[in-house]
């Protein structure tokens, strides 16, 4: 079986755009709590919560060469406790599976928002700058913790290639 690429949060705008990019080249295994209407028939999408044991089944079933973790909730209507648990525990699970199965490449989608805007910031923020966003907006703490988990993973598992993306606003006709 061709080694697969797991995309969490595949039903979102970015997930669908990424699917279009990888479709036909990689065996895509999508995970999302939401359905993916109009998905290409050869893309498998599993509607499940990242905290569930069923997630591990996907890793057991065949070799996985890369995990692109974008399944991070940004849903202000959800209770803060549920939101936090879903994001932090979900990411923890995903990273655990990556470590156990020796997934070669792990990409985690964070955001440039983790640095936080502040009048005394330097004009250019380097990636080792402290993640201060929660000082003004507590709602971003999930994302900061997810980013930190990915950072810790990066150091604890040097044999897995880990990439933490902190993009600025992503705009464009396909988003």
């Amino acid at each position: 079986m061709k080694p697969g690429v797991v995309i969490t949060g595949i039903s979102g705008n970015l997930g669908r755009a990424l699917t279009r990019l990888l479709h036909g080249r990689e065996r895509i295994i999508g995970v999302d709590r939401r359905p993916f209407p109009g998905r290409p028939p050869d893309v498998e999408v599993h509607q499940l919560d990242l905290r569930k044991n069923k997630l591990e089944d996907l890793f057991r079933r065949g070799p996985i060469k890369a995990v692109i973790h974008m399944g991070i909730l940004h849903e202000p209507r959800m209770s803060a406790a549920e939101h936090h648990a879903c994001n932090v525990l979900g990411t923890t699970r995903v990273l655990e599976h990556c470590a156990r199965r020796g997934v070669e490449k792990v990409v985690v989608l964070s955001s440039a928002n983790v640095y936080g805007p502040s009048p005394d910031n330097s004009h250019f923020i380097t990636e080792d700058a402290p993640l201060m966003a929660a000082s003004r907006f507590a709602g971003v703490r999930d994302l900061i913790e997810v980013d930190m988990l990915a950072n810790a993973f990066f150091w604890r598992h040097p044999s897995n290639q880990t990439v933490v993306l902190r993009p600025f606003h992503i705009v464009g006709p396909t988003i």
Binding site: S122, H123, F124
Partner: protein, 252 residues
């Protein structure tokens, strides 16, 4: 509508700058270009086009109100340099006069980037204006980047202490911070003292060059900082004949 008005104001001011600057200078200022992105600003938000418009009223004050006479501007070395000054009052008009002098008297003309207090970016509109005319928040990292890019950076090491002093102490120099010297040492940058107030006479001192470790103890650096501070009048305390006298900008 607002855009058209803005353009008209900018064009009007730009014309005024041209008339005040005179022909030869107008031509030279055009060569003051720097790397700009598609929005016409450099990486720190400076826009030459905007600055040449915004400078008109300051240039008028420089020529006709303060009637600034400049000496020693040839001391400002080419490439990176730290201009160290002290300013009095909340409105940085005196700092602006240094910037104008660097534009119209220095040969070739220089854009001055001044380091401003960290609360300044909280002012809407004002900070956009400040950034367009070359001002940058005073973090060490910003200063280092500008110096490495060969800019002339204006700093006020008295910091907020210098701004917030009572009127009676307006000519009394406050203690200097050490940060600017550490930056000068780290980037091997000459320091040019520019004492203020000197409404009618702006003197650029001889460049001071320091060598040493940028991470030396405060005590070691304090002696060198004192050397810079001593080149600015008011360092020794109020004059015995009363602090209300204007302190001459140049020392005998």
């Amino acid at each position: 509508m607002a855009g058209a008005l803005e353009d008209a104001v900018k064009a009007g001011l730009r014309g005024w700058t041209g008339r005040l600057a005179g022909e030869g200078l107008e031509e030279r200022l055009r060569h003051l270009s720097r790397p700009e992105n598609e929005y016409g600003v450099d990486p720190f938000g400076f826009s030459l086009d905007y600055t040449l418009s915004a400078v008109a009223p300051l240039l008028w004050m420089y020529r006709h109100y303060h009637r600034v006479k400049v000496t020693g501007i040839q001391h400002v070395p080419a490439g990176r340099v730290l201009l160290v000054s002290n300013h009095s009052g909340q409105l940085p008009v005196d700092g602006a006069m240094i910037g104008v002098a660097m534009l119209v008297e220095a040969d070739p003309p220089r854009a001055t980037r001044s380091m401003v207090e960290k609360w300044v970016p909280t002012l809407p509109w004002v900070f956009t204006f400040m950034a367009r005319v070359g001002q940058v928040v005073g973090t060490p990292d910003n200063c280092k980047r500008l110096l490495r890019a060969g800019e002339a950076v204006l700093v006020f090491p008295e910091g907020a202490r210098g701004l917030a002093k009572p009127y009676a102490q307006r000519y009394l120099l406050q203690p200097f911070g050490l940060g600017f010297l550490r930056l000068a040492l780290e980037t091997d940058t000459p320091v040019v003292p520019v004492p203020l107030p000197s409404r009618d006479h702006l003197h650029f001192g001889e460049p001071l060059r320091f060598s040493g470790r940028p991470d030396d103890d405060d005590g070691v650096l304090e002696q060198e900082v004192e050397q810079v501070r001593a080149s600015i009048p008011g360092a020794a305390g109020p004059r015995p004949d009363g602090a209300h006298e204007r302190v001459p900008a140049t020392r005998a």
